[in-house]
Amino acid sequence: MLNIFCPHCGELRSEEEFSPAGQAHIARPLNPEACSDEEWGEYLFFRDSPRGLRHELWLHASGCRKYFNATRHTVSYEILETYKIGEQPAFTEAAGKKSAAQGVSA
């Protein structure tokens, strides 16, 4: 069971308090009317599902009811960081950074 640092509550909480909400940083197109069916379909359904780091949206459903982002490794399940909506991740697959301790996030 994951241990997730809620960036709003400021502490680690058990996974039971959270709901995963899919891939993070999927912005709604600013002008949906300008999207082709193909582009709209990509926005709706096409997601990254990498073996490795993934930026995810989570909801602290039983806690502060806020959405936030997490950078999580999809094989090891380590959470490298959690960060608020609107912020950018410090860890990306390209940067190839690796965390020291598991479950502990900034």
């Binding site: 069971m1 709209w40 379909g41 709706l44 997601r47 599902s49 995810e56 999809t74």
Partner: protein, 416 residues
Amino acid sequence: MQRYSGFGLFKQSLSHHENWQRMWRNPTPKPVYDVIIIGGGGHGLATAYYLAKEHGITNVAVIEKGWLGGGNTARNTTIVRSNYLWDESSQLYEHSLKLWEGLSQDLNYNVMFSQRGCYHLCHTLQDLRDAERLVSANLLNGIPNELLDRNQVADEIPFLDCSKNTRFPILGASVQRRAGNARHDAVAWGYARAADALGVDLIQQTEVTGFRKQNGAVIGVETTRGFIGAKRVGMVVAGNTSPLAAKAGFRLPLESHPLQALVSEPIKPIIHSVIMSNAVHGYISQSDKGDLVIGAGIDGWVGYGQRGSYPVIEHTIQAIVEMFPVLSRVRMNRQWGGIVDTTPDACPIIGKTPVPNLFINCGWGTGGFKATPGSGNVFAATLARGEPHPLARPFNLERFHTGALIDEHGAAAVAH
């Protein structure tokens, strides 16, 4: 191929079983094949078998990064059924179920397919409406299915708590009597042995690391044992589809999630069919060895670790004890997880990809095992012709652009 039979077994026993042949060869890859199938799970092996058997294409390699049948084929709860809602999916799964019904003889390998029936319990009025809709659709599609009331359910399923004072009382159930279980490993091994006998090369411990393209079209795969050429490549790698598709340069409407299951210690048979409940959220059957085989819902996040989160196990066990209170003192032996590639409409994607000569068969989500023969059969036809088999056609990738989804999530929870 050395033919298997009771007599053969007796004959071999006289020579202390020292003369059984290998079930499949361990071949060195050829430089080029007509068709390469990436993924030596049940679906990939079935594809290879039907390519050889039904389409005469035997210059085929199955490339497996681990061991045959080592992915979800080895980690599922072995349920086989075809009672799906929409015409497109019920016909595909029924095609599969019909192949199951003769599979042991076809492969000369006992896959222990037992048609002991599968019950879907109804706990709410909307469940009953949905069941009626499903049963009715199945019947008109020529797929036998029945709807039972509470008393019939109580009569047919011993020890199921059908009393009215449970949290979610059972109001009825649909039952597909031709549904059941099969021995999961045997399916992979049976197809492997039969495909090998027809000349298919099964190449284990070899990972595909990339695709080689010419003019945008795939001409072969890069592997940990070097380049292997192919006229067509079929990708049948379930949970690993997204990362592999990324190597081929395209994205898919897929997420790979952990799907957990567990078994009890072996006990004397007490559960004689497959029993599923969406409302209480668990399902159960009992293997021929006596293990209660119990399944859960998928974990909500992407994961390739072949393990999920503990609360899912807890909730599933609660559901089982809620349904069958007499199992409270039975003990859970082992749990595990598979990696299931899920699509937004809970239906597979079978057919062409944006890359010429590269075909996919993926997105089976939680329902892949039951589809093994049908999936392999229609995908073989698709690879042989270069065009989707008619049953596979609705399951194209384009549906996620046009919106022609085939939503098998089941009717949404009732409102008001």
